[in-house]
Amino acid sequence: MIVALQVAFGLVALLGAVSTALTRDSYGKVISLGILVAGIVPFIVDRGYLDVAITVSLIAPVVTIFVLMAVRRAEA
């Protein structure tokens, strides 16, 4: 990949990781996890592992839905 793009998407992934660690709000944490995945997927596609990218992008939302069930139970 071009170096500028590596920097850009690495920045997106780092931003997601740091804000997941620092956010207090539980919905904010879930959205930040989405940013983390968004930063990682372009690196997988760039190597040519398209099947891995499809699998990751289908598993990540399912994981989020499970985390959200825990969030809702903690709130209730």
Binding site: M1, I2, A4, L5, A8, F9, L11, V12, L15, G16, S19, D25, Y27, G28, V30, I31, S32, G34, I35, V37, A38, G39, V41, P42, V45, D46, G48, L50, D51, A53, I54, S57, L58, A60, P61, T64, I65, L68, V71, R72
Partner: protein, 79 residues
């Protein structure tokens, strides 16, 4: 080539906007912009028929995620 740089820059901009916004309901549209930009990047990076499937899978998956977050935030999924 300029299209790829433009789309990557928009992804970074949207990610920063998501992080600095405090309100959950207003975070989600910025996250949606970032998902559009990443889905565009996937196709622009690799010109292969399967990368269309990867972009569509990523986009539908992240939309489903946003949908789940928004409906839980609204107060429970409708049954």
């Amino acid at each position: 080539m300029i299209a790829l740089y433009l789309v990557a820059a928009i992804a970074v901009f949207a990610a920063i906007r998501v992080v600095i916004e405090r309100n959950t309901g207003r975070k989600l549209p910025y996250a949606n912009v970032m998902n559009f930009a990443v889905a565009g990047t996937l196709v622009l990076l690799l010109d292969h028929p399967l990368s269309l499937v990867a972009a569509a899978a990523y986009f539908v998956g992240s939309t489903l995620e946003a949908n789940a977050v928004a409906s839980t935030y609204a107060g429970g999924v409708k049954r």
